[in-house]
């Protein structure tokens, strides 16, 4: 099977993160993301999905630190790089979209300037050229009247528009890897659909790999080709999306799938109680130090179809 798979863009091996050196909160997480693949990490809050994404970017804040394992990005272990080399990588080859665009954008700079900054810092362009590129970037994320919008400040835009600006900044330098941490959690359903479609389309056109972190199984199902399920700092299961929803292997995944209210599941006879996670998963199933349950990737042909 390995013969037909390309080398992964990102390969996380036995990653361990701790609060200080002693208290380990992320245990031996390993996964690969292939070029152009959208990989989803799903789990509850506190399961470690966000810190996994942050550690790949090198944005972990003290007292959190990586205490073991490796993060291979295009074959190179980024954990061994110095902070300057990492900074060059960040925003250029790998970029991130955060959950709350209002707090992630600089409120005192126009959005045109914030996008242009990417070209100045990473491509060494002059500001005049960079601004022209910024308008193009805004156009590519389908912000209406980009010329005018480039001069506005973040507070003048709606939530969906701000998130489009974030995506424009992240994709400005055509990175190999985009990490999207709950990109649509703060948005309305109708706006969410548009933003997700935009991410999918742009990344497909450029062949960008995406690490999508979300707690929403619906979003994951719509976007991802392969999904990792995290629980209490462990990656408990990894499968192709279809296989995961059709045939969840780990009891925790089964519980997660059973616990969500589903559209169209209510019958006329009355409202039944929802299944609670604890009824499906025994706590010893969650605590045990079991290896990640995985199935091999399906054929790539299916992925592009």
């Amino acid at each position: 099977m390995n013969g037909i798979l390309p080398d992964p863009v990102l390969s996380v091996r036995n990653l361990r993160i701790g609060v200080g050196r002693r208290n380990e909160i992320l245990h031996d997480v390993s996964f690969d993301i292939l070029p152009g693949e959208t990989y989803g990490l799903v789990g509850e809050s506190g399961s470690g999905k966000s810190i996994t994404g942050l550690s790949v970017m090198g944005l972990l804040k003290r007292p959190l630190e990586v205490i073991g394992g490796s993060v291979l990005f295009r074959g190179q272990d980024v954990l061994k790089l110095g902070s300057r080399a990492r900074r060059r990588l960040r925003g250029d080859r790998m970029a991130m979209v955060f959950q709350e665009p209002m707090t992630a954008l600089n409120p005192l700079a126009t959005i045109g300037r914030q996008i242009a900054e990417m070209f100045v810092v990473h491509r060494g362009m002059g500001w005049a050229d960079a601004r022209r590129k910024a308008v193009e970037a805004l156009e590519s994320v389908r912000v209406p009247s980009p010329e005018e919008r480039a001069r506005s400040y973040p507070h003048q835009l709606s939530g969906g528009m701000r998130q489009r600006v974030m995506i424009a900044i992240a994709l400005a330098c055509r990175p190999d890897l985009l990490i999207a941490d709950e990109p649509t959690t703060a948005l309305d359903v109708t706006v969410q659909a548009g933003v997700l479609e935009l991410i999918a389309e742009l990344c497909k056109a450029e062949g960008t790999a995406v690490l999508l972190v979300s707690h929403d199984l619906g979003v994951i199902a719509n976007m991802c080709r392969r999904v990792g399920v995290m629980d209490r700092g462990r990656l408990v299961e990894e499968q192709d999306t279809r296989a995961l929803f059709a045939n969840p292997m780990h009891p925790y995944t089964r519980g997660l799938l059973a616990a969500r209210p589903r559209l169209g599941s209510r019958t006329l006879s009355g409202r039944g109680r929802l299944t609670e996670l604890d009824q499906v998963v025994a706590s010893e199933d969650r605590a045990r130090d079991t290896p990640t349950m995985t199935t091999p990737r399906g054929f790539q042909a299916e992925a592009t179809a």
């Binding site: 809050s45 359903v189 969500r260 559209l263 929802l274 609670e276």
Partner: protein, 316 residues
Amino acid sequence: MKPPLLEIRDLNVHFPLPRRSLFGPKRTLRAVQGVNLTLNEGECLSIVGESGCGKSTTALAVMGLQEPTSGEILFQGRPLTGPSAPARKERARIAQMVFQDPYASLNPRQTIGRMLSSQLVLHAIARGTEASHRVADMLTRVGLTPDHADRYPHEFSGGQRQRIGIARALMLDPKILVLDEPVSALDVSIQAQIINLLMDLQETLGLSYIMISHDLSVVEHVSDHVAVMYFGRVVEDGDWHSIFSSPTHPYTRRLIGSVPDPDAILTGARALPDAASVPGAARFSPDISRRPDPDEQPEASELVPIGQGHRVRLAQ
């Protein structure tokens, strides 16, 4: 005939907007425009729509936290607004609210027990040991233990905090609970627990709910009646089954269609149920292909019945 528990009649809430120029015309934001809703005893009425559509403003008006520009809200036939409105303390025993973010709505410097019992003291219902007995009862009822009363809000998880928020709202034995996005800040695994708790409480205590939510799968599961709001107006309302089995207004269809659904992956594209048929050559109002200007005078339209208790807004 007994009047319904709560009736909202032709509710309008307008906010003044700044003039565009010194001598420019006055501008108003019509946050809620002519909303009529009825809540029957023991039922759950859900208001859905995107942010800014006026669903929260409607709820705040019910709570008495937002003075309506015009229109009235009747509780068992008695007005809740205007000159003959009940005082705040009396109102507190009619309707209570459960907020979206349980942490932001709890005082971090008060123990849970103090917070819950202070309401009883204020309303002269109980004090001393009697009050702490009632607090312990309420905590057990929402799935916590009596010794949680000595703890502070930061010592609880998100799901537990929402249980405390529900306990706080229930202390005065209100008839109506207004649930403002009660589960959207919670994890999927916790959501089911809180929804189950809300449904159990509704049955045992005979509560009536007004739920504001944008999560349609939760709405479908819990509601008896659903009203869909779009830019200040109700565009479609009906019992939950007619809304979900034959969504008719284009906005309702768009809302339901944009819920990301894992099952769609397995079964291929999910088909939206068929719309109910609409009389004549009428046009839906408002036109959702363009964003309405909130300052503009809305076009004439009315809610037209298209099925058993199912109405949709059409242009006149």
